[in-house]
Symmetry: C2
Subunit: 123 residues, 2 copies
Amino acid sequence: MSRTPLHPTREQIELPMVLDCLSDPIRLAIVYQLAQQERVSSELRCGDFNGLSGKSNLAYHFAKLRECGLMQTRVAGTNRFMRLRREDMDARFPGLLDAVIKSAAKDADRLQLMAGCEVVEAD
Amino acid sequence: MSRTPLHPTREQIELPMVLDCLSDPIRLAIVYQLAQQERVSSELRCGDFNGLSGKSNLAYHFAKLRECGLMQTRVAGTNRFMRLRREDMDARFPGLLDAVIKSAAKDADRLQLMAGCEVVEAD
DNA sequence: CCCTATGTTCAATGTTTATTGAACAATTGA
DNA sequence: TCAATTGTTCAATAAACATTGAACATAGGG
């Protein structure tokens, strides 16, 4: 309850909060991976990011991403699916999200953007 | 000396540091005013921002803006002139600075972007 | 040479932040 | 019903941050 108060409407989304959210390497990686996925499924499970940090730390970052308006969560059974609020962001700050994602892509190696990506387990 | 160690080369400029810099309302206002000025003189005196905060707090923010690669300072007598490192930013992260500035312009009233602008003194 | 103006540096303060592990809640499947 | 899975909440910690005022440095004008 202390971590779920906000969830801004489109108009309530604030530029400084969005930039601050994107300035954290873990959150930037989350947003980046969601953006990559956008053409395919537009959603990822929380667990898909486990490579980036511990679960409780990720929950903290997810909350921040939701509070600033970048992400939305859909509950499905014991899973949560996250997606970018792409339309709201583009309406509110045209070109911003794309510019950030392209900038991140340029530095994909420097930033460890794909650290959390599907590790294939050899059973 | 403790406050002037970095001054990244173009290649050393890091996306998270830039976004973090821009996420602070005072620094965003500084960058915004410099961007507005760009067509005219491309430079502003430190003192032109005195409306945004106290001098020592501004010096702190100026240092951050320099350290992340967004700004450059030119000393001229007892004054310091600041300008955006526009070419470096555009080369490094194409479209990013413009997207941020346009986004800030959209919210110019909400963010207090022009708070530090030339107050005309009577007398 | 002093006095003023301009900025920076430093130390101190209180706030916010990221990170950790343990506890908790909810759902699923045996 | 029991156990396993998924993810959130909570408390604690250390680090980073923004802000303030005082001290300092430098340059320029009388």
